[in-house]
Symmetry: C2
Subunit: 120 residues, 2 copies
Amino acid sequence: MSFDPQSLRYNEDGLIPAIAQDRASGEVLMMAWMNAESVARSLETGRVTYWSRSRQAFWVKGESSGHSQILVDFRYDCDRDCVLVVVDQTGPACHTNRRSCFYTAVRAGEVVELMAPEQS
Amino acid sequence: MSFDPQSLRYNEDGLIPAIAQDRASGEVLMMAWMNAESVARSLETGRVTYWSRSRQAFWVKGESSGHSQILVDFRYDCDRDCVLVVVDQTGPACHTNRRSCFYTAVRAGEVVELMAPEQS
């Protein structure tokens, strides 16, 4: 069955959450949002393309930073309302220069930082 | 620094997306939603507790199915608007009886099913 980006379920703003996972490490790198057109562009170009809610514009990950995400596998969930992109990540995924955006943990009620920014 | 669940950023419905990742396999299992109280309950009880948008009720994962998620690590992202829970998953995470909700991929424009329901 061929895939139609419109067949996914988008929220009232036309957006769907997209989780990026690193192919090599399995690490969850970030979560951002896509609209139907950014789903289509990601699949067509092989470069993960989000929709920036703050800029209201397409966001080709790494276009300005060089920290691009090459699409390895595009998946969606049972409810069709969440996307998982498996990626080859170049450099850190997070704008803080950390490998993953999920660098903060709560352990025994305390906030713990799990990783430091990478040196560039 | 001690953690306050209210310090996370919730959407206009008071919800934050929560990604569950299996500790052992690294697999992304599902994405569901939490409110501040379900964040607090997950941390207090060590059992991952979502907020069911359809039922408008707390949803202790596995409470009815037995497919519970024991909280191993609670993390949040740089923007404080997404949660990652690392879990020990008992049985399949998906209501379709599959290990993960992300069992559908798009490859070369075609929809591909990656895993079958587990036998119970």
